[in-house]
């Protein structure tokens, strides 16, 4: 920094936060953010970086009942304690993780105007500001649309643009990329870059770091509710891989520079079977009604052998999800052949043989305890067997807990446990590492490798390159699959 003290956009002094459960989220945190800076808050899951963002946009203490906060927080010249949330909204813009639950209108134009309308701004002024925001962020493609038909990435872009239109001084972003695919993350990056260029202050709490390396001014490492280290951009990008891993941080390199081998050929297909195991999953000419719009008529073909983890990459998030759903027999108008160990599976057989661990695991947990969830999946399984599977997934100590009370990673492992107990032969994973920090991502990749020892076919759709290189043995690109550049077809 220059010698003269820059304007301070946000200052936290002696902030300590305790949640109603008694957990202490932050211990006497002191933090200053200067005007025009982009500051990254990073650290392991549960370190407190999200809580810090909540202290900056007023969620703590105004919104969360029972959470106590001591200390002083001043953001954009406003004292958080004495300022109403709606007054804060004019100066502090917030973007959260879930694109599906941050919009209020069904048309994008109305959504852009929403915040300004709530603030009582004159309609002509609203139109002007919306137009300016759209031009700044190059968001023309988002205008005049039905929000429901937008993809997750487009929704998040719309949320960002709506907040931008309010022209706040400080932007507070809480893991905005958690549910986005690679293409959408790139768009968010350009939006953040533009925001910074406009002279705004940005505070972003994130796990995914690679897209921020050019934008941040400082990175602040949080651990167990304390600020432990502060880096300048250069110091941060200069960290070695080992140092990063020790701190529990994800990669900083651009995704394309990670070495991943993408097969342009499905070279295992047609080869001899490995050992006594069957031929695994063979897909020929697969297509469905939804995929038809972006694939060639001859459909998708590939194989996934036993003892390998097959990764499917590519920025087309919806293409990957649709492919997995189609494999599992959940999509209408399915054509082509799916075979497992030589046996042809029709749609309902695919339902029985496959298990899809969804992006939102909450949709697939039904019971009132971990144990009962397992019993639901495998009614005839013995207690010993259930305990064995739970133990291998580090869930045994949570047997009596309600599935919804588990953490995200625990829920995911529970879903996997039910799939294993139900003796599913085809395990499909849809973005299993969204929003996970480094250690948990490594845990999931280890899990994938462990699953290889069972007689199952494993297909993982992901855009997480760091995870890919650890977990997958072979990688296919979704565009290649859809356009028939792999597998030779029928």
């Amino acid at each position: 920094m220059e010698g003269k003290q820059q304007d301070i956009a946000a200052e936290l002094s002696g902030i300590s936060v305790t949640y109603p459960s008694g957990d202490v989220a932050l211990h006497a945190v002191n933090l200053s953010v200067y005007r025009g800076e982009c500051v990254l808050l990073c650290g392991r899951s549960g370190c407190g970086k999200t809580t810090i963002t909540k202290c900056m946009n007023g969620i703590v203490p105004h919104f969360e009942m029972g959470t106590t906060r001591t200390g002083k927080a001043v953001v954009a010249g406003l004292d958080i304690d004495t300022t109403q949330m709606y007054e804060l909204a004019l100066k502090v813009g917030s973007v959260f993780q879930n694109p599906k639950s941050q919009f209020f209108n069904l048309t994008s134009d109305d959504e852009m105007a929403f915040g300004l309308e709530s603030a009582g701004v004159d309609p002509d002024e609203i139109d002007r500001r919306v137009r300016a925001a759209v031009a700044d962020l190059k968001a023309e493609r988002l205008m005049h649309r039905n929000v429901v038909t937008m993809s997750g990435g487009e929704k998040q872009s719309l949320v960002y643009a709506s907040v931008y239109a309010m022209d706040p001084d400080v932007f507070v972003l809480d893991e905005p990329t958690a549910n986005l695919d690679a293409g959408a993350i790139e768009i968010l990056r350009t939006q953040i870059a533009k925001t910074k260029a406009a002279g705004k202050t940005i505070v972003i709490a994130e796990h995914r770091l690679y897209f921020l390396s050019d934008i941040i001014d400082r990175a602040i490492l949080i651990e167990d509710g304390r600020v432990v280290r502060e880096f300048t951009r250069d110091e941060f990008t200069a960290l070695s891989e080992e140092e990063r891993h020790a701190l529990g941080l994800r990669t900083l390199s651009d995704s394309s520079s990670l070495t991943t081998v993408i097969s342009s050929e499905d070279h295992m297909r047609g080869g001899p079977c490995s050992g006594q195991r069957g031929s695994g999953l063979e897909v020929e000419g697969l297509s469905c009604a939804m995929m038809a719009k972006y694939q060639l008529p001859r459909g998708v073909s590939f194989t996934a052998r036993h003892g390998e983890v097959l990764g499917i990459v590519g920025s087309n998030g919806s293409g990957k999800t649709t492919l997995l759903r189609c494999l599992a027999g959940l999509e209408r108008g399915r054509k082509g052949h799916v075979r497992f160990d030589g046996k042809v599976l029709d749609r309902s057989a695919s339902n029985q043989a496959s298990y899809l661990i969804m992006q939102d695991v909450n949709h697939q947990l039904f019971s009132d305890s971990v144990e009962n969830e397992c019993r639901l999946a495998a009614p005839s399984a013995s207690s010993a067997r259930i305990d064995g599977v739970l133990q291998s997934l580090d869930l045994l100590h949570l047997k009596e807990r309600h599935p919804m009370a588990l953490s995200g990673g625990q829920k995911q492992r529970l879903a996997i446990a039910t799939g294993l107990l139900a003796e599913k032969r085809i395990l499909l994973f849809d973005e299993p590492t969204s929003g996970l920090d480094f250690d948990h991502m490594v845990g999931v990749s280890k899990l994938m490798q462990d699953l290889k020892t069972r007689a199952v076919a494993i297909v993982v759709a992901t855009h997480d390159r760091e995870f890919l290189s650890r977990a997958c043995d072979r990688v296919l690109d979704i565009s290649d699959l859809l356009l028939g550049r792999v597998g030779g077809g029928v």
Partner: protein
């Protein structure tokens, strides 16, 4: 011919007049005149297909009630007569309702209600309810798909469907509120609107026409 765009307030008043006329005793001639008037309105607003569908629907309804149901066995006719008769009575309301839904957005509608001094305390939940319908549908779809991949015994199916759905609704409510409040939804100042609703000559003409038809229908009853 350029189609007219009615102010939501006009549509609400038209709906009200249709409700008034609904349960009046009407001769077939009067009914046909009123249905035709509604169909014409739909065409004028730029929805000719809608007008055709509803007109044909009316004809089918009358034919069913007058010619088909009387000759069917009592068990069958009991099932449908009361409901179809009811449908016939509120047919005008349904026609205007269909027009209202197609030609108005929730945003326009809440702006119109706001101009009638209905407080934000009512309008915000209303917007949220309607905005949540599509999401409810997609969540339900995902849960049903997840259930397909598990063999759930019939006795537990309702519970297994309901619980994740309610959990999802609760979580969505929490996330949506956080986003709403940080966007300033609690601002006590009067909300403005980019809709700029104004009653035009088209609106007044429609209202006048509706009042006339209403009076005539009452007089003939």
């Amino acid at each position: 011919m350029k189609s007219i765009r009615l102010d939501p307030r006009t549509l609400i008043i038209l709906l009200s007049t249709a409700s008034v006329v609904a349960f009046l005793p009407k001769g077939l001639g009067v009914e046909i005149a009123l249905v035709s008037a509604c169909a014409l309105l739909q065409v004028a607003c730029g929805y000719p297909t809608m007008a055709i569908k509803w007109s044909v629907g009316f004809v089918v309804l009358v034919v069913l009630l007058n010619a088909v149901l009387p000759v069917l066995p009592i068990t069958v006719s009991t099932v449908f007569t009361i409901s179809l008769t009811y449908a016939r009575k509120i047919y005008l309301c349904l026609m205007v309702g269909a027009l209202a839904i197609r030609s108005t957005t929730v945003h326009r509608f809440t702006t119109a209600l706001q101009s009638w001094h209905i407080p934000q305390t009512f309008l915000i939940p209303l917007s949220i309810t309607i905005r949540y319908f599509p999401m409810l549908k997609s969540e339900a779809g995902h849960i049903r798909d997840a259930m397909k991949l598990k063999e759930i015994p019939p006795s537990q199916r309702i519970e297994c469907f309901t619980v994740p759905l309610i959990m999802s609704a609760t979580m969505t409510a929490d996330e949506l509120s956080a986003a709403a409040v940080t966007r300033g939804i609690e601002n006590p100042i009067a909300s403005t609107s980019t809709e700029r609703l104004r009653m035009h000559i088209d609106d007044w003409l429609c209202l006048a026409g509706a009042v006339v038809l209403c009076v005539v229908a009452i007089a003939l009853a």
